[in-house]
Chain length 244, copies 2
DNA sequence: TAGCCCATGTGGACCGACCACAGGTAGGAT
DNA sequence: ATCCTACCTGTGGTCGGTCCACATGGGCTA
């Protein structure tokens, strides 16, 4: 096993054992190198990987915010992986779109179910779903601004859709959605900008968003799932990003 | 922007432009460093990330297999990201299980649909689905060996389930499934080994596998999806990995 | 002609140094 | 006593160079 892999394995074991929790700082690179009996470059390579995976963030300087801090950004690693493989041609954008449709229509169903029948088994955040729902409505209002550029509209649209994923309460699904967003966001914006009738499309998307939120808010899982699927598929078909 | 990030961005751009395709080799670390006007450690850090993401593989020595070669292992990066975040406590195993259930039941539906109504729009691999189906049946036969240990059985079980995902023809879904497998495989094996009545469970799983393959083979999408969902949920409920 | 051996190119690992940066702190000015 | 400034210190960022292990392949030798 290569040196940086040993370092990585050690840090992963320490994470698993709870030695370092969220928000805490790893020892400095020099200290870590000495503790593990390896050189500083090897430690740095391991930390680079952790950083790319969204496990830590690094900062120079001194004080409590400097050094390598444990964070929780699963979407960073997932997004980078998807983005790089789309770049290399391994992953087709159409596959990403299909996966997004799948995950998000499921999320809508799940969200509607949770809203409709509040799960009493989650005491820490009893009304979290409604909080997310309110935030979604707020984002929806922000999209009505006629002065928005295409890119700005898409930005808010993605925020809205991310909010839907969040309502399902599955962090992995949320992370995958966020990752895919960062991976293919530029393709989506480019596709939207090519549309000659963008104004019409934007209005239709907003209207659909409202029907989706209504369905979720009233706990109608079947309708919510169906609407989301048609909403996403319709947009990608229109922009030609669905692989056809 | 940090130096290794510039290197990474450059390589990603080159990948996107098709400068280096699958199976080709990147220039050597020394050459790359000189071309980009950076030091070798910076190049190495960038390559480390690409390696962790499953974009390249590195090998020492000389000859055509040495150096950094472009590969396509999206599951490597996705798996590492999921595994590390499970280790750090960000992602719950139950969320991973839920996501797996979601993706795989969709894959079963998709596979059955494809088998039932062969898609003539994919000329390169006309009978790929049937090929995968045959392979799945073969794996199923290998699981009947009564001399298998729990770990060996689970290993084949995961291969079987991966085969299902493959039949859906979505590389991202397949990669996510593979990644999740590597991320939580040890939890699954540990859970299975705790079961007092493993022999009974194994026999039931095998029987369910057969009904699933039958449903897919006959193009019955609804049944295939339902069976897979119940199959997975049943197993995780039995082993207590579903979060309850 | 067959076999061996070493030149060569590759990544792997390390060392030591210097830099930029941000906090914290001690000192001086008011 | 208070505030401000200048410096000290610890942090990651970057670099150049060195040496090593390894695998190949071609040239040399028997």
């Amino acid at each position: 096993m290569r040196t940086h892999e040993r370092v990585l394995a050690q840090i992963e074991a320490d994470l698993r054992s709870g030695k370092w929790g969220l928000g805490e700082r790893l020892p400095g690179e020099r200290a870590l190198a000495e503790q593990l009996g390896v050189s500083r470059p090897s430690v740095r390579e391991a930390i680079r990987i952790l950083e790319a995976m969204g496990i830590v963030r690094t900062a120079v300087g001194s004080g409590p915010t400097s050094g390598a801090t444990v964070i929780d950004r699963p979407a960073a690693g997932l997004g980078a992986a998807v983005r790089l493989h789309v770049a290399s041609g391994t992953l087709a954008v159409s596959d990403v779109v299909a996966t997004r449709t799948l995950l998000e229509s499921w999320a809508a169903r799940e969200a509607a179910t949770r809203i409709g029948a509040p799960d009493a088994t989650e005491p820490p955040v009893p009304a979290a779903e409604h909080q997310y729902l309110d935030e979604a409505w707020r984002l929806l209002g922000a999209m009505d601004d006629p002065g928005l550029s295409v890119a700005e509209f898409i930005e808010r649209d993605q925020d809205f859709h991310l909010q839907l994923a969040r309502m399902a309460g599955n962090q992995l699904v949320e992370a995958i959605m966020t990752g895919m967003r960062s991976a293919v966001g530029s393709y989506v914006t480019a596709g939207a900008e090519r549309l000659p009738t963008w104004g019409t499309t934007a209005a239709r998307l907003s209207a659909e968003h409202r029907t989706i939120l209504d369905a979720i808010g009233s706990g109608d899982a079947d309708t919510a799932e169906k609407l989301v699927r048609e909403h996403i598929q319709g947009f990608y078909r229109e922009t030609g990003l669905d692989g056809t």
